[in-house]
Amino acid sequence: MPSQLKILEEQGEDAVTIRLFGEVDISTAQELKERLYSVVDEKKTNLRIDCSNLDYIDSMGLGVLVGVLKRVRQGGKNIYVSNLKEGIRKLFLITSLDKLFIME
């Protein structure tokens, strides 16, 4: 079954940029979680989540991001969330997650 989520990773100077393509939902959240945890554990750096091509996310995906944020913070680093589409930005506002992540 083809996944509706594609995850690209790019090493930058101050952060690893993760580009999300498609949908993070109940069927893909686990895949995102494993991928982000492994990046965080290996790289111990800031994360930038580029959401330019993220079409959908719900509480399953937001839960994963919060879990990853905890881990990143333990290492004294942070998560930047960038280029949210309007509907997804609204979800961050409703849930106050815009105050937890660094929104760009």
Partner: protein, 130 residues
């Protein structure tokens, strides 16, 4: 726009892979009613959140649950039902979960113990049309 109440029903297995089908139907129905794109997105998220809850709970009795889209002149109501009535326990107003919090924020009305035999109902009102 629909002139009288009409309904479309979707029956899904308790499987994560099929929740996206509910979103497809939601966008089709909401677009036909004349909801704006951003309202359609809200409805899609709300429906998915309820499906997520059902799929995560699963059922030892039933193999599927039903989503009924009730299309009225001025609103879309989405009701969730299942042979396994015990799943009603999942839907309580005093819920602290992120998912149901998002549902309540995005929809115009939510009913945690609907009298019609369904497990949960929620509505979105069509604005600026009539």
């Amino acid at each position: 726009m629909a002139e009288r109440s009409e309904s479309i029903e979707l029956t899904l297995p308790f499987k994560a892979e099929y929740v996206s089908i509910a979103r497809l139907v939601a966008s089709g129905v909401a677009a036909r009613i004349g909801f704006d794109m951003d309202v359609i997105d809200d409805v899609k998220v709300a429906i998915s959140e309820v499906c997520n809850k059902l799929v995560k709970a699963d059922s030892s009795v039933a193999s599927s649950f039903r989503i009924r889209f009730e299309i009225e002149k001025d609103r879309l109501t989405v009701a969730f039902a299942c042979e396994d009535k015990s799943l009603g326990r999942l839907f309580k107003e005093e819920n602290e979960e992120l998912g149901m919090y998002i549902v309540a924020a995005l929809m115009d009305e939510v009913e945690y113990s609907p009298g019609d035999g369904s497990l949960f109902r929620m509505s979105k009102v069509v604005e600026g049309l009539n």
